[in-house]
């Protein structure tokens, strides 16, 4: 008897509270949506602000002209070419290193101290601020290797910066290859390397490619390390080879933004539109390739 009243009492309390408890949930959903909304609204505002500032300055001349003291004659050509050169060199250096490291860690390395050390080390490198890579590049590539403030010095710095991203992405792609592939190949008498080259890497290729494009798009937006190694903002020639001096899109944007005259801010906005367009293209290619090339077994 006593127990049934207790249950009834408990039930009553439960019911009275349920409305407020549900209300808490509803309020929480509203807060969560507001948080998401603030993030997305800021993104939208940023894009609209940039585009509105950029429209009067965007033209074909802007793409094909070199920077100038006069805002009306200035263009992004040196930065755009510099970015393309720098990315090509960076990927040329970072892709083989990153993929081979990933192959080693996934397919060859045993579970020993060295392997664990390499893994912890890669995780830590991913957390090093990009400007510190700039200091590394300044001291080792620019000064000790006497590459001066060249494209090659910039590309080597950027390659080390994105190496952890490439290794992590490539490892994930390699790990996703079913082990039955390896077993079948080894059972037919292939060596370990033949198995990796003919079966594991081709299968992991879409994932590796996507990871590399995403890493490259991270590098394209990086400004700080290149400022530290001394990439110039005012370059009035196109790069002619890996040892040319250079500038890149983000540095050009930084330079224009930090000038006091409003006209240059318009140029900076136009530069941002070009930069975002490059990034959008690269990311779309990555998504397309991932969907197009990925096969399921």
């Amino acid at each position: 008897m006593a127990s049934s009243t207790q249950v009834a009492h408990g039930g009553a309390t439960f019911r009275t509270n349920l409305a407020t408890r549900r209300l808490k949930g509803a309020l929480f959903v509203a807060l969560g949506l507001a948080a998401v909304g603030i993030g997305l609204l800021t993104l939208l505002t940023l894009i609209i602000d940039v585009v509105v500032d950029a429209v009067p300055w965007l033209s074909w001349d802007f793409i094909t002209s070199y920077p100038s003291r006069f805002a009306e004659e200035s263009g992004i050509r040196a930065g755009l070419l510099g970015t393309v050169w720098l990315m090509a060199l960076t990927i040329l250096i970072a892709l083989p290193l990153g993929v081979l490291s990933a192959v080693y860690l996934e397919e060859y390395a045993g579970d020993n101290r060295f392997t664990r050390f390499v893994q912890v080390n890669i995780a830590n490198l991913a957390g090093v601020p990009s400007i510190v890579y700039g200091l590394l590049g300044l001291q080792i590539f620019v000064r000790m290797m006497r590459l001066e403030r060249s494209l090659l010095a910039g590309a080597l710095t950027m390659a080390l910066l994105i190496l952890p991203i490439i290794i992590v992405a490539s490892r994930e792609a390699i790990r996703a290859v079913p082990s039955s592939f390896r077993d079948a190949s080894l059972a037919l008498g292939a060596t370990k390397w033949q198995t990796v080259r003919n079966h594991v890497l081709p299968y992991a290729f879409p994932g590796i490619l996507t990871g590399n494009i995403l890493a490259a798009s991270r590098a394209i937006g990086e400004t700080a390390p290149l400022l530290v190694i001394g990439a110039l903002a005012y370059v009035a020639t196109s790069p002619s080879g890996p040892l040319s001096r250079f500038t890149v899109l983000p540095i050009q944007i930084y330079n224009w933004t930090s000038l006091p005259q409003q006209d240059f801010h318009g140029l900076a906005a136009a530069g941002i539109v070009v930069l975002l367009a490059v990034l959008l293209t690269m990311n779309s290619i990555a998504i397309y390739l991932r969907q197009r090339l990925s096969r399921r077994y």
């Binding site: 998401v36 080693y104 490198l125 890579y133």
Partner: protein
């Protein structure tokens, strides 16, 4: 027995009739090449330490380490030189703190909403959209902070053209997806049986989210917050553009300051002569920055390992 051993090894030809084939040699060479590639990451770390420490040691031959860490006036190129790095650290602390004030509440709210309340469809749209924020280059955020957010703040409150408030707010938005995405991953990884257990006991969705899922995912959530903080401390372009180039020891968010990273940038642009004290200062400041972020990363690894809840 011996033959199965060889096949499992992946080297069926090794020791076969005692010959050392060309194939065998090639395999070993490839192994070495791969090992060398993996070692590059170790050389990178050695390179970072080597380039930072060399100049930093020279720096501390000229400047007292006590003055460096306790002084509050930073004036390396004035005639009355002074190297109190606290002036730079205070600015970094302030911009990062403001950024975290924005990123942590918004990021966690968004993460809990996405993981526990949003429909699968809503999540698949909202999460990638938020991640776009992380893909926008920081120089673009710098532009936005200096030329949009600062004028907006100046309409309602009198702040300097360069100030840490605007830089901090924009940085907070830039690192928001780090908190929201990684925390959401951590919460999604909590097994459903825990939620079902709590629902079975009569808990509401809100109670399941805040009292079951959130505590269970705490190690991953803390790791995401620390990662965001270390990103804020090392962030360069937003503060270089919007927070100013004026070193001073203050916690007033409305005035121009200079963070550790913007100091390094400002000296790099001025072509400091190699071997000069100015050249050495950027490495000393870089070492300080590296040590701070490294400590945070270590703490985060330790925390995850110590407090991770493992469900099987």
């Amino acid at each position: 027995m011996a033959s199965t051993q060889r096949i499992a090894d992946g080297y069926p030809q090794r020791g076969n009739m005692g010959r050392n084939t060309a194939r065998d040699i090639r395999e070993r060479a490839i192994h070495l090449i791969l090992l060398a590639a993996a070692a590059v990451s170790i050389f990178t770390t050695i390179g970072i330490l080597f380039s930072l420490l060399g100049e930093t040691i020279s720096f501390f031959r000229n400047v007292s380490i006590v003055e460096y860490f306790t002084g509050t006036r930073w004036a390396p190129s004035f005639s009355r030189r002074s190297f109190g790095v606290l002036a730079l650290i205070s600015a970094t602390a302030m911009t990062s703190f403001i950024a975290m004030l924005i990123a942590v509440p918004l990021g966690l709210l968004a993460a809990i909403y996405l993981s526990e309340f949003a429909s699968r469809r809503a999540r698949s749209i909202i999460k990638p959209l938020l991640e776009i924020l992380a893909g926008i280059p920081t120089v673009v955020y710098g532009f936005f902070a200096l030329l949009f957010v600062t004028p907006l703040i100046r309409r309602v409150y009198d702040v300097d053209i360069f100030n840490s408030l605007s830089a901090g707010i924009v940085m907070g938005i830039a690192i928001l997806p780090l908190v929201s995405s990684l925390s959401e991953d951590a919460m999604s990884a909590v097994p459903n049986s825990l939620r079902e257990g709590a629902f079975g006991l009569g808990a509401t969705r809100f109670e399941v989210a805040t009292r079951v899922v959130f505590p269970a995912a705490l190690s991953g959530i803390v790791a995401s917050v620390i990662l965001a903080l270390s990103r804020a401390v090392g962030e360069t372009m937003i503060v270089a553009l919007a927070a100013g180039q004026r070193p001073r020891f203050t916690f007033d968010p409305t005035v121009a300051v200079q963070t550790m990273t913007s100091y390094i940038v400002s000296v790099s642009q001025g072509e400091a002569a190699v071997g000069s004290i100015q050249y050495q200062t950027i490495f000393a400041v870089g070492t300080t920055l590296f040590a701070i972020t490294f400590a945070m990363n270590l703490f985060s690894h330790w925390f995850v390992r110590r407090f991770r809840e493992v469900y099987d």
